[in-house]
Symmetry: C2
């Protein structure tokens, strides 16, 4: 049995970054950039008006003849006389021999003549070529997570494809003769299967799309053969249920049979002690404890840590924030605790029911209070570590 | 021109909750529950072993004959003699006349006899029927957002469908003769279109799926007719660009022509002053300023507020957290400011470039520092309002 921190560092060491792929910018939300991007062009690509108004050559004159118009998208690079101005709109091309734009609110216009009532300084309201970014300048650094703003930035530079770390293909194996799919009649002795559905949506929340659920009976042969298939085709295998010491738990034997190297089994924690982590080639395997709340806790703490590493997130370690706890708390278990909790901007409240079989509390929690195995006496209002889960 | 808070309250008043729909639990991640759910069954549905071990009737005996086995999923309700025990596994049915389970680590087994080396108290390791939740008890309250844990909870109770607020259909209208789609050659005077792509992924990030982009030229007729179509088919219409006072901005005229009621136009803020909000029947319309950073700021502040109301989120108002600012800051504009910023658990840093035409900074920001129009002098380390954006 190992401690939480050791388990997390074994996971970080053994989870490998996914292969780099090229994808369309419009499909790249949430991916991590695998290659630094430099600008292919100047932005703006030409001298551009920042206002609706009139463009002119700054001089001693206050009054100009309006001789033409430049709308956004137009391009006409005529040469103008000193006493000539053009009507211009935001984003429009500013001809080479004009240097200043006066906003229309500072003019009076009669017939074809504009009088400037408040003279701007020379070069005012003209965005220079490359003012935002110049060709070859840094756009986004490697390891940046792609946000909507990043997608907008790339699109405005005409970039259509980028290199990112791909997302893993995940197999979920749900074991247990007692499991019945929701919607069917429940015979005595059976329960509805919830772990695989729950794990699938938790993965979807991380924008992982290639997920397949395998439901199998508790037999050694079924477990061996589905594991064999999954190990050759998937990057991550999650086995839900069936890795305790009971005679009818075949998962461990099936893992050994398939030459999965055990990297740890059992962690000094509550909930989720019987947690297994192993590896075969590049595929990593978690066997999660069967109780729904233990499964989901292990997912948010350990599986997410592995996925972060695989998908290229940096830093890999879990987000930890500090909040003031709402009660005195004594941890006499000698184990690390992950307590379902609700936190706000200042405080954290430990929620009432912490049973590992119950999801009631989990459904309204937004994080865990994490107490290390050797944190025994916690005082009310003391700052504790909170791991956000949404 | 109105203030930020007034604009937000007009939006909250005028955005209507979407119709309630019935959806599959497995597809309900992120939706808001429109009807409180009560449990259709007891959970567990029978007396269940919480351990791998041996079930027996608690008495003065220490040693029992092992006469049968109950695995998870089995159901056999035999009557046992006082000196008889059964091999039992976690989650398995506990026969009616047995009352206690001893964990296997506290036994020694020889042939068909189990000796209890550490006697548990009566009723130990047996989960009672309905211990987690009883039939007709509260499962999830109306207005709860559906998380993976909530989905697991519903699934384990055999619930397959729930009632939620539907998500809006959104039309994005990108106006501008200057816009060229990324991937094509950029003629002089033109720029790459980025706002519609960016808005689309920002909507996708909120799990909105029905989004259509309409790209139109700056003509009154094109604007009128596409608006007409969108107003009759979509719940939310976002117009990107084209609502300043310039002669070539037809959007406002096209909105009036289509009988959209203007609820406000221009907000005392930077960036994003020329922001328009209107309504026709149940469809709401935002015309967003054309500069990419202004567009996205308006989206995160105002459009998200409207969407929250429509999708049933409570409270509707934006998430505001408080962080210590990294610099002295003077707001002499008389306007409310939304400053692109990066915050951590304690502090917030105002990022360098705040130009409304630039997305460089936005791509690495995770929030705004919000300063009201009358907040003039901000001292370093003072707590300020931060609006998270991811």
């Amino acid at each position: 049995m190992i401690q939480v921190k050791e388990a997390l560092s074994i996971i970080a060491e053994n989870s490998c970054k996914m292969p780099v792929i090229k994808i369309k910018v419009s499909k790249s939300l949430g991916f991590i950039l695998a290659k630094t991007i430099y600008s292919p062009m100047d932005m703006p690509p030409f001298r551009q008006s920042a206002m609706d108004g009139y463009a002119f050559l700054h001089c001693e004159l206050q009054q100009f003849d309006v001789v033409s118009t430049s709308k956004a998208g137009d391009f006409s690079n005529s040469v103008f006389k000193k006493n000539e101005a053009i009507r211009i709109f935001t984003g429009a091309f500013v001809p080479d021999n004009l240097d200043t734009v006066v906003m229309q609110e500072h003019t009076t216009v009669k017939n074809k003549t504009v009088e400037i009532t408040k003279m701007p300084v020379r070069f005012a309201n003209v965005r220079n070529k490359g003012e935002q970014i110049k060709e070859a300048e840094l756009v986004l650094e490697k390891n940046t997570q792609i946000t909507p703003a990043a997608i907008g930035f790339l699109a405005c530079l005409g970039i259509t494809e980028i290199k990112v770390y791909s997302k893993p293909k995940v197999a979920i194996i749900a074991t247990g003769n007692e499991l019945v799919k929701a919607g069917k009649k429940l015979p005595m002795g059976k329960i509805y299967e919830s772990n695989s559905v729950m794990l699938k949506v938790a993965l979807k929340e991380l924008s992982i799309k290639k997920i397949k659920i395998f439901r199998i009976k508790d037999t050694l042969n079924a477990t061996k053969s589905v594991l064999k298939k999954c190990l050759s085709t998937y990057d991550l295998v999650l086995v839900s249920g069936g890795i305790s010491v009971g005679d009818y738990d075949f998962v461990k034997e099936a893992l050994e049979f398939n030459s999965v190297t055990q990297l740890f089994y059992t962690v000094n924690q509550k909930p989720g002690k019987p947690l297994y982590f192993g590896k075969k080639a590049q595929t990593i395997v978690f066997a999660l404890p069967g109780n729904p709340a233990s499964t989901l806790t292990s997912f948010y703490v350990y599986v997410v840590a592995a996925l972060n590493k695989m998908m290229g997130f940096q830093p890999v370690h879990l987000t930890e924030i500090k909040r003031k706890i709402n009660v005195d708390f004594e941890n006499t278990t000698g184990k690390a605790l992950f307590l379902k909790a609700f936190y706000d901007d200042k405080n954290v409240t430990i929620l009432e029911s912490q049973s590992s079989a119950m999801l009631n509390t989990f459904a309204v929690a937004n994080g865990f209070v994490y107490l290390a195995y050797d944190e025994v006496n916690i005082q009310k209002n003391q700052e504790v570590i909170v791991i956000p889960i949404h």
